[in-house]
Symmetry: C2
Subunit: 324 residues, 2 copies
Amino acid sequence: MPADSLPTYADVEAAATVIEGRAHRTPVLRSRRLDERAGCEIHLKAEHLQRVGAFKFRGALNALSAFDAGQRRGGVIAYSSGNHAQAIALAARETGMPAVIVMPHDAPEAKVAATRGYGAEVVRYDRYTQDREQIAADLAAERGMTVVPPYDHPHVIAGQGTAVKELLEDSGALDVVVTPLGGGGLLSGSILAAGALAPRARVYGVEPAAGDDGRRSLREGRIVTIETPRTLADGAQTTHLGHLTFPIIRDGVTDVVTATDEELVGAMKVMAGILKQVVEPTGVLALAAVLSGAIPDTAGLRVGVLLSGGNVDLARFAELVGAP
Amino acid sequence: MPADSLPTYADVEAAATVIEGRAHRTPVLRSRRLDERAGCEIHLKAEHLQRVGAFKFRGALNALSAFDAGQRRGGVIAYSSGNHAQAIALAARETGMPAVIVMPHDAPEAKVAATRGYGAEVVRYDRYTQDREQIAADLAAERGMTVVPPYDHPHVIAGQGTAVKELLEDSGALDVVVTPLGGGGLLSGSILAAGALAPRARVYGVEPAAGDDGRRSLREGRIVTIETPRTLADGAQTTHLGHLTFPIIRDGVTDVVTATDEELVGAMKVMAGILKQVVEPTGVLALAAVLSGAIPDTAGLRVGVLLSGGNVDLARFAELVGAP
C-alpha cells in the first residue's frame, strides 16, 4: 500500500492479523455505577492496558511489520509527544531494527524514560518554536532511516482501527462509538472499523476545547491548522488533521465535539475512584464528553468509549485527581 | 453448617456456586515489566475490581444467602473497618434484607458513603476505645438481627476462598500463593482452595509490620491479641485471628510475613505506574512482600498474588502515590 493511499476496512482486518498475539487484546471494562451516572450503558475499551500503555502500539507494530528488508536495515524514525514514541521504540525492538525518536522538551518524563528504556535514541526539540516534521525528515535523509508519522500513514490508521474492531466484536452492536481525537489516526481507523461492523452506529471524535482544529476542519470542509494548543491532553496537542485522516473523518464521522481540561480531570477522577484505573488526560477525552453531555442523545443506549492511554507521571496524576 | 464448625474445600465449592453470576469473576492481571522487576512470574488476582471494590463481597454474599426465612426478616448487622461493611450492605440489598453496619469514626469517608449508598444504616464507634463486637451484639439482641462477623464465620471463609479457586483455575498451577492477612478470612479460605487445587503450592499471609499478631500467633501456637495497630493498611488493623481462621492457618500456611507502610506505598506506586490500577494500602500487602523479598525463594517461579481491594479516598491515594 503506497504511503499516500487511503486505507480501507480490509487494511484494518489485515492489521488485526499482523498484531494478533503481539499486541494485547485489551479488556472491555463495565461498571454499574458508571452506567448509573452516565445514564447509558458504557463499554470502555481499555487501551491504557495496551502494551506501552496506549493504543499507539497497534499502528506502530502494523507499520513496522510492513517495512521491506532495506527499510529494516536503516531503521525507523518517529516524532511524537509521547505514546507514539514508546510504541515505535518497542515495535522497533521487537522487529529488530534501530529507532530514533524526536520528542518535545516538555514531554512527560515517564514517556521519555520509557522510550529510552525500549532502546531507542531520543532527540529533543521545542514544541512551540521548532518543526518536528522537518527535524525528523533531515535526520531520516542523513541516516537512511524511514519516518513513520504518528497518524497520517495508512498502516498506522489501519492498525489503530483494530481497537474498535475488537470492541465491537467483544461488546456486540453499539449505538454510539466515541474516541479521542488528536491527529485523527485513532478516529479514522475507528470509522473504518465501525463502518464495516456497526454501520448504523454514530461515531464521534473528542478533542481538547483548547485545540478544536478537527471540529473547525469539519465545519469548513478543509484542514484547518491552529497554534499548538495548551491543554492537559498532551497526546492531543496536534495542530492539524492529516491528508489521509481528514477525508476519512469528513466522510465518516457523525460529529467532532470537545472537552475542557476541567472535564478531563473529572473523568480521570471517575476512572480512578469508580473503575480503579489510572488513565492519562488525553485518554479520557471520549469519556469526558459522554459524561458532560457533549455527545447528544445517549440516554439508555449502548455506548463504546475508547480509553486511549495511561501514561502520566504519577506525581502529575496525583496532583490532578487529588485536588478537591 | 453451624457457625462454629471449620469449613472445608467442599464449602468453597458450594460458595462458588452460590456467588456465580452475582459476584464478578475478576480478571488475573499480568505485566512483563512487573515480572522483570520481581524476578518471577506474577499473577495478580484483581479483587479491587470485585463488586464493592474488594473480595469481601464473596464472603458476605455467601453468608447472607445461607440465612433462613426468620433471619432474612430480621436482617443483618456487621462491624467492619470498611470493605466488609460495604459488602454486607450490598449483599443485604441484593438478598432483600435490612442491614446495620457498625463502623469506626476514622473509617475512610469513601467507605462510609458507599456503605450508606447501598442502603445500610451506619452506627459509628471509636476503634481505639470501644469494643465493636459488643456494640454489634447489643444491637443485634435489641433488634432481632443476625451478626455476620468480618472473618470468623464458616460461610465467610468459604466465600473468600473462591478468589484463589478462580485464580488457580485461570492461571493453572502456581508455585506460591500470597494473600493479605488481617483477621484471616481470606488467608484461611485461600488455604482451603490451594490445599485442594494446588497442594504443592506454598501459601503465605502478609500482615502489616505494625500489627504482626498473626505471625506471633503462628510462632506461639495460640491466638495472640495485640493493641489496634496504627498502619496505612486500615483493612488489616485487626487485633487477633479468629477461632476458626487460626487453626486453618496454623495447619495450612507456609509462613506469615510482614510489610511496612513504606513498602505498601512502594507497591501502590508500582500498581498505579506500571499496571495503571488503583489499589488501597491493605490491597497491596501481598505484592509488597513479594517485591521486598519477604517471601523467600520466588526466583523464576509462578507466584499468585491477591490484590484484595481498591477502596481508598482519592485525595489520600494521591497523597501516597504522588510523594517522591
